[in-house]
């Protein structure tokens, strides 16, 4: 019956009461356990009161016992010897709340008096918090939040086929829906990015769900406008609420509009409710449309997920056992349902919430998210040191006030809550700011197309769980940083502080501040160095030798949505493209190097030797003339010719070296194809990383969803790209067409480092400003404390310049320590991110030195004013005080 809290409680009691025997602490902890049990039997309120009372008692006892030990005042401690507070009052919730409100109000007023600093501090905390909230909200949406359906989201299950949680063919899903009594209804669906065209508009990429009419019943929803499609509808489509708002302004006239999806012309018959995401992605689909009729009777095509609603009273376990029986039956009928050893493929039934990520990956996904949260937490901590610093400075400035309060009867608890109130107000402010910022971020994500090939409508919801997380994160971080100054305030010596001279040394307090400043400087230095590293990486990327020549090449990607033969597309376009003025040469490929698109191909034998396991090589499909257009030189053999088919392959030097180290690879085989040429190794997948073995094949008849035109030009590639984009769009009206200079399309080369340098740069600038303010605050505080010392020094013959350099040197020393720590952090992070750095070492001395100089300058500037003030001290005035 001992609860988890009891051992902890015993330990806390021992900490609170010095000299308490362990056995007595255990006894006391058990007494509280009994108190809790009795309280719980009476009401939850009593239980809460018991907990609150106990925790409050612990804190107060800790404070009292410590003080008694310090003062050695009488057998009962200081609590009863002339303490002005009189007999202990009973805990009165109403008074406590009233006092809390007063304190918070007071805290808010104090903060309002320094609006700039408050905004900067709250803003920096809010910025880091927003990051944390966004990550948490994403995790929440993906892992925990039920689908926003009207009835019983708990009853929704997903049904998977086979060991690797696979998809179904349509006839199978029908069998399951009919035979399983534990499932009320079931619906097959397939969600994917598709190409959609509205009348008189160019086609675009959207997210769509192909499904069956039963989907509406499974989700337990009704359409907001119109109706869902039925079994007899072949050409009806229902649009998502967001799409309706964006494209039709929420107008009812949208119903009846005809639109084109993947070559089918469909009529809008209804609008889905707001905020409904797809079943297997946190994206709001633009359209829900019927599965094509000819797909419906193909048993072989496994392409559909299955979502079902449990019938009333059924459990997941019942459905699971029922479906296992059905699976066994199916295995007897068709080999399709048998494993190689003859046993039936298993069927998995998972609650919808549990099915969103593969069950085997769940732990690692949560761990990964935890890691990201931890990183953001570190940034948050840097931001919070400012809050701590500020509160510390305020406590220092208010020592006299606090002493007066204590001498007229304020309890230690009251002083603590007074100091903490400021932190709480700041936390509330930062929390509110971050909620607003992340809500704006989610709204932005919902309507923004992040990249040409990612459909818009990412749906991240702000719900109670996210708000609770925000509140908890904001309060706990700021409270932790507010507690340090709070405890400092309690340690003040009333009598000394009341003597207004206040020349008492406060070594501890300024040491804490110094630690804060060092931590903050370390953070800013790390951010600044990282930012510089990536800026230099972006610059270096322009000059790095890639091994091919992307300059003067324009690329136009043609996104065809459904798979079409690239050869057909090329045949239609080629003549017109070559005839364009300014085009020197034209070639086609499936992917642009360094664009983030990658293709890999498995081969089972190389050079005629059978391999144990499939060999996987990077791959691309290219047209004749490709290598000369992108400037990839051949070291042996020849380019593709129009006559080459799938029996020809071109490989890179790495692949050739690996399998034919001592002979020429030309003429040998890779898979079934003969090597006709070898291409020089080039940075096609990553910059600076090792070159992987790679192969190129000509386009065949296999369908692809996109093809990219590569055009070499004598003029400006960006203008050429725009020119060709217009031309292609005018010829092929059903595809999404996008033209860019080739360098622009190579996003891996510049975009990622640029994004990283921007984010590190923003964090670096922000934290450097904060840290500079911190240094200024610390220096003016210490200078204020040491006026008398400077007076004495001056009286004894120190020069004013000497004092200035002494104070500035002190500021520089603190910053130097922080900078040193920051360099180490930056080096560690840069080593991890090395693959994103182009042509710059993670230990780049230029970045480190530049950043060091900048921070040093900031530190000097920040200490100069306090130093000047110290040198202006009038010895006579000071010494007379």
């Amino acid at each position: 019956m001992t609860s988890w809290f009891t051992p902890l409680h015993a330990r806390l009691l021992q900490l609170a009461i010095p000299g308490l025997e362990p056995a007595d602490a255990w006894d006391a902890a058990h007494v509280f356990e009994e108190v809790r049990q009795r309280a719980r039997q009476r009401s939850l309120w009593m239980l809460a009161a018991a907990w609150l009372g106990e925790l409050r008692g612990l804190a107060m006892t800790a404070i009292r016992e410590r003080r008694d030990n310090d003062n050695q005042s009488g057998p009962w401690g200081a609590s009863n010897t002339g303490s002005p507070k009189g007999p202990r009052r009973r805990f009165d919730a109403r008074t406590a709340v009233a006092r809390l409100v007063t304190d918070l109000w007071h805290g808010a007023r104090v903060l309002a008096r320094a609006p700039v600093f408050t905004l900067v501090a709250a803003g920096s905390v809010a910025l880091a918090l927003t990051g944390a909230v966004c990550v948490f909200a994403m995790a929440n949406t993906v892992l925990w939040r039920p689908l926003p359906v009207a009835t019983d989201p708990d009853q929704l299950v997903r049904v998977f086929f086979g060991d690797d949680y696979g998809v179904w063919s349509l006839p199978d899903t029908k069998t399951i829906a009919q035979d399983a009594g534990a499932l009320e209804t079931a619906a097959a669906f397939s969600s994917s990015p598709i190409v959609l065209a509205l009348p008189d508009q160019s086609p675009r990429r959207v997210f769509g769900v192909a499904t069956v009419p039963a989907m509406l019943d499974v989700l337990g929803i009704t359409t907001t406008r119109g109706r869902f499609f039925t079994e007899s509808d072949d050409d009806a489509v229902v649009i998502g609420h967001g799409f309706w708002m964006r494209e039709f302004g929420g107008s009812p006239s949208a119903l009846g509009t005809r639109l084109n999806i993947e070559g089918r012309t469909l009529t809008i018959v209804g609008v889905m409710p707001q905020g409904l995401s797809a079943i297997d992605a946190p994206l709001e689909p633009a359209v829900w449309y019927p599965i094509e009729r000819q797909m419906q009777n193909q048993p072989g095509t496994r392409a559909f997920g299955l979502v079902a609603r449990l019938s009333a009273g059924s459990t997941v376990e019942q459905a699971q056992s029922e479906l296992s029986a059905i699976s066994a039956g199916m295995a007897e009928e068709s080999s399709y349902f048998r494993r190689r050893d003859g046993s039936a493929h298993p069927i998995h039934v998972l609650r919808e919430v549990d099915a969103r990520v593969p069950p085997d990956d769940r732990t690692s996904i949560i761990a990964g998210l935890g890691g990201v949260l931890l990183l953001i937490g570190l940034v948050l901590a840097v931001a919070c040191t400012n809050v701590g610093n500020m509160a510390l400075a305020r406590v220092a400035a208010r020592r006299t006030e606090i002493a007066v309060r204590m001498s007229v009867g304020a309890t230690r608890g009251h002083i603590l809550s007074l100091v903490l109130a400021e932190s709480i107000v700041l936390a509330l402010l930062a929390g509110a700011l971050s909620v607003v910022c992340s809500a704006a971020a989610f709204r932005w994500l919902a309507v923004t197309q992040l990249a040409a090939d990612v459909p818009q409508g990412l749906r991240i919801a702000m719900d109670g769980r996210v708000l609770a997380f925000t509140a908890l994160a904001a309060l706990s971080t700021t409270l932790v940083f507010g507690l340090v100054p709070g405890l400092h305030a309690l340690r003040s010596d009333v009598r000394a502080d009341l003597q207004s001279g206040a020349v008492t040394t406060t070594g501890r307090r300024s040491r804490t501040r110094r630690v804060f400043i060092v931590a903050q400087m370390a953070g800013s230095a790390a951010f600044a160095i990282l930012s510089l590293l990536f800026v230099r990486s972006v610059i270096a990327a322009h000059n790095v030798d890639l091994g091919f020549n992307p300059d003067a090449v324009a690329v136009v990607s043609i996104d065809m949505g459904s798979g079409r033969s690239a050869t057909d597309v090329i045949r239609v376009l080629d003549e017109r493209l070559r005839a364009e003025p300014g085009v020197a040469d034209i070639a086609y490929a499936l992917n642009v190097p360094l664009s983030g698109y990658r293709m890999a191909e498995g081969v089972d034998r190389v050079g005629g030797r059978q391999s144990e396991e499939p060999l996987v090589f990077a791959a691309n499909r290219v047209s004749p003339g490709y290598f000369s257009v992108v400037g990839l030189p051949l070291t042996a053999g020849r380019e593709f010719l129009a006559a080459d088919g799938q029996e020809a392959v071109v490989i890179n030097e790495t692949l050739a070296r690996r399998y034919w180290p001592n002979e020429s690879a030309v003429g040998s085989t890779v898979g079934d194809a003969t090597v006709i040429g070898i291409v020089r190794d080039a940075q096609l997948e990553t910059v600076g990383g090792p070159v992987r073995p790679m192969l190129w094949r000509p386009f065949g008849d296999e369908p692809f969803s996109r093809v990219v035109v590569h055009a070499r030009t004598a003029g400006d590639p960006t203008a050429m790209a725009a020119q060709l984009e217009r031309l292609v769009a005018s010829i092929d009206s059903s595809s999404v067409v996008e033209g860019r200079a080739m360098r622009e399309a190579m996003t891996n080369l510049e975009q990622t480092p640029r994004l990283l340098s921007w984010s590190f740069g923003a964090a670096g600038i922000l934290s450097t400003i904060l840290a500079t303010l911190g240094v200024y605050g610390m220096m003016s505080y210490t200078v204020g404390m040491r006026r008398r010392e400077f007076g004495v020094r001056l009286a004894l013959g120190a020069t004013r310049d000497g004092i200035i350099s002494h104070v500035v040197g002190e500021g520089l020393r603190t910053v130097a320590i922080g900078f040193g720590v920051g360099v180490l952090i930056a080096a560690a992070v840069a080593t991890v991110l090395q693959s994103q750095l182009v042509g710059v070492s993670p230990f780049d001395p230029v970045s480190v030195l530049t950043c060091g100089a900048a921070l040093g300058l900031a530190a000097v500037t920040a200490s100069l004013i306090p130093a000047w003030r110290a040198s202006r001290v009038d010895p006579v005035t000071v010494l007379r005080q």
Binding site: F32, T61, G74, P75, R88, R90
Partner: protein, 111 residues
Amino acid sequence: MDELLPLPPHVFEILLALLEEDLHGYALLQAVSRQSRGNISMGTSTLYAALKRLRRLKLIDEVDAPSHTDSQDVRRKYYSITTQGRAVAKAEAERIRRLNKLITSSRVLES
């Protein structure tokens, strides 16, 4: 003994409770709450800090569980008041009685 007076209210209440019978921690909490009519409610930390001091001053002592208790209570620590403890409680009571007389003769509670 005089240097111990006045006793803090909760300490006095603990001694008063132990005058009646030997008690364990939880029973002490209840007894104090009962006899002070809810005016003094302690957390366990306050109680055990006081018990620690009382024991160091030899005003109370730790004893075996009384024979009539059920098995669950055996592992608990029971406390009993010492002769010295009784004397201190008596002195405190007399101090308060003197105060009471003073209060009655003064007019502080009138009007």
